[in-house]
């Protein structure tokens, strides 16, 4: 903890120093190496429930810092690395991690390969999810870009193939396909959710306390297709993801095991972007399959989607409106399976209506403010509210970002 905080401050001082010297541009060290980066800091305050951390008291545990290095070794070969430190409530703790690190070779427009740690193309926005200034609202819509699942879906050590097929007058088709393993952190929402489930299961069977919980991802694989038709500003996407993670832990004096598998995580996407308006809508379904201490947990197939409108009144000032819905089980929208287990029905859904403003002071500074009203407590909300969750809750976020 102490070491990671020291590393965080060294990185923060380094970033501020880089930003303070010279013009606020990328640092081109000759023709072959460039250094970029970003810093963001937010404040979140919620009422009704805690969200991602102790947000009911108001929390500044909402930040990201990154340094990005790129080197065009030859015309077709590139090396790149991004170091990322983030703190989002209970997750991240500002440890400095390799966000992505790639050796990227491109043979043709239609074929390139990246080896190393690659960002995963899920939906239209997953690959840029850590860069706050790339999107109109602070959080991406949670029905698809759930912060608690970030560890599993953000990046993998392995490789990907990518390319672009020109369809002539009919547009373009971009593809990415990947296979790898995830560095599954124990402080991630998914690991903590499964640890909580293992503890509850062990308690019910009088097996003793769960300790030394460790996660070991076995694999992730998937791909995406993005079709850009001739109509300017319009694009459609479809992506697929699957992954499996094993968990080991002590339970009393014995060893315990659990597995978590995410199967057939499919996202259908649409974005229409004009010079002032952007409309985005995505739909998802995914199947969770968990087994804890030999007991199969009936997760079912979840369902979700959102519509987001963004309008720029001025080139660098805009407003956003979001409606985002998630159901834990697509065949049980009213949460009756939770009631059957003695739990509240509203654990079965999450409906988020959000409004936000964003102001780009210049091409490098950005400020956002937004307010969300939420009905329901799905998507792992109980892990931040062990004393119980409320159905209706809301949260306010203020965040500023700087990039160079």
């Amino acid at each position: 903890m102490k070491g990671s905080l020291s590393a965080f401050y060294i990185m923060l001082i380094g970033l501020v120093s880089l930003a303070a010297i010279g013009p606020c541009q990328a640092f081109d060290l000759g023709e072959r190496l460039s250094i970029n980066g970003f810093l963001s800091q937010g404040y979140i305050k919620s009422s009704g429930n805690n969200y991602l951390g102790d947000s009911q008291d108001g929390s500044f545990q909402l930040n990201e810092f990154a340094l990005t290095f790129n080197s065009a070794v030859t015309d077709n070969f590139r090396l790149g690395l991004q170091l990322l430190s983030r703190d989002v409530g209970a997750e991240g703790n500002n440890d400095i991690l390799i966000d992505w690190a790639v050796a990227d070779y491109r043979w043709h427009d239609w074929l390139g390969m990246r080896l190393g740690k690659v960002k995963l193309p899920i939906g239209l926005y997953n690959q840029g999810r850590d860069s706050d200034f790339l999107r109109p609202m602070v959080f991406l819509p949670q029905s698809i870009y759930d912060e608690n699942k970030r560890t599993l879906v953000v990046a993998a050590v392995g490789g990907s193939l990518y390319g672009n097929f020109s369809l002539g007058e009919n547009g373009d088709l971009e593809y990415q396909a990947y296979y790898g393993q995830v560095d599954f952190r124990e402080d991630s929402g998914q690991a903590r959710g499964l640890e909580q489930l293992a503890s509850r299961t062990a308690r019910m069977r009088n097996l003793g306390a769960v300790a030394d919980f460790e996660a070991d991802n076995r694999y992730v694989y998937g791909g995406s297709l993005v079709y850009t038709p001739p109509l300017e500003g319009l694009r459609f996407g479809v992506s697929y993801f699957a992954g499996k993670t094993d968990f080991d832990f002590d339970v009393g004096a014995a060893q315990g095991e659990a597995q978590g598998t995410m199967k057939d995580f499919v996202v259908l996407s649409m974005e229409y972007s004009m010079q002032k308006w952007t409309v985005a809508a995505e739909y998802t379904e995914q199947t969770g399959d968990r087994e804890v201490l030999g007991t199969d947990i009936p997760d079912g197939r979840s369902q979700g989607g959102y519509v987001q409108l963004c309008y720029h009144f001025l080139d660098r000032f805009g407003a956003s409106l979001l409606y985002d819905v998630f159901y834990a089980d697509k065949d049980d929208h009213d949460g009756s399976s939770f009631v059957a287990q003695g739990q509240p029905d509203f654990l079965g859904w999450r409906k988020d209506l959000g409004v936000g403003l964003h102001w780009e002071i210049n091409s490098q500074w950005l400020v956002k403010a937004e307010y969300h009203m939420v009905d329901g407590a799905a998507l792992q909300l109980p892990i931040f509210n062990p004393e119980g969750v409320e159905r209706d809750w809301n949260y306010f976020v203020l965040k500023t970002s700087f990039n160079f």
């Binding site: 690190a101 427009d109 850590d130 020109s166 500003g233 010079q275 002032k276």
Partner: protein
């Protein structure tokens, strides 16, 4: 009652994307480049990093203007984006590890010098600044 439809029309017109002014730029390449004409859609794909090779197999090097009227006109007329959207497009590639944004030059003279020095480079300049140091591409 009579005013309402007019107001609605006015609001609708205000919400429409800004009309693109006549663009007075020229797309330019090195004089050694064998390419003489390009579709506007091909130029768009080149500057969005979707077409990265010339027909002879050489990779394409891009150069952008840092800002200004020529940059704004080119981005709006050819890429159908606002300069801000174009900037965000390349920042997404940069920070997600999928690409490196093109180099920028401060103005027409610097772009011409960069294109004249690199047989693989393509850029755009104010058409009034066109001279024999670079070759103008005819847009179809």
């Amino acid at each position: 009652m009579v005013l309402l439809p007019n107001r609605l029309v006015l609001i609708f017109l205000l919400l429409l994307p800004a009309t693109v002014a006549a663009a007075d730029f020229a797309v330019v390449v090195n004089k050694e480049n064998q390419v003489a004409t390009l579709d506007r859609d091909e130029v768009k794909k080149i500057f969005l990093g979707r077409k990265t090779f010339w027909t002879d197999g050489q990779s394409i090097d891009l150069v952008l203007q840092a800002d200004g009227e020529v940059h704004r006109d080119f981005v709006r007329a050819i890429l159908h984006k606002s300069p801000r959207q174009f900037e965000m497009y390349w920042k997404l590639a940069l920070f997600s590890g999928t690409g490196i944004p093109p180099k920028q030059q401060p103005g027409d003279q610097a772009v011409k010098a960069a294109v004249a020095a690199n047989p693989k480079m393509i850029g755009y300049i104010d058409i009034r600044q066109l001279d024999a140091t670079v070759k103008k591409i005819e847009l179809k």
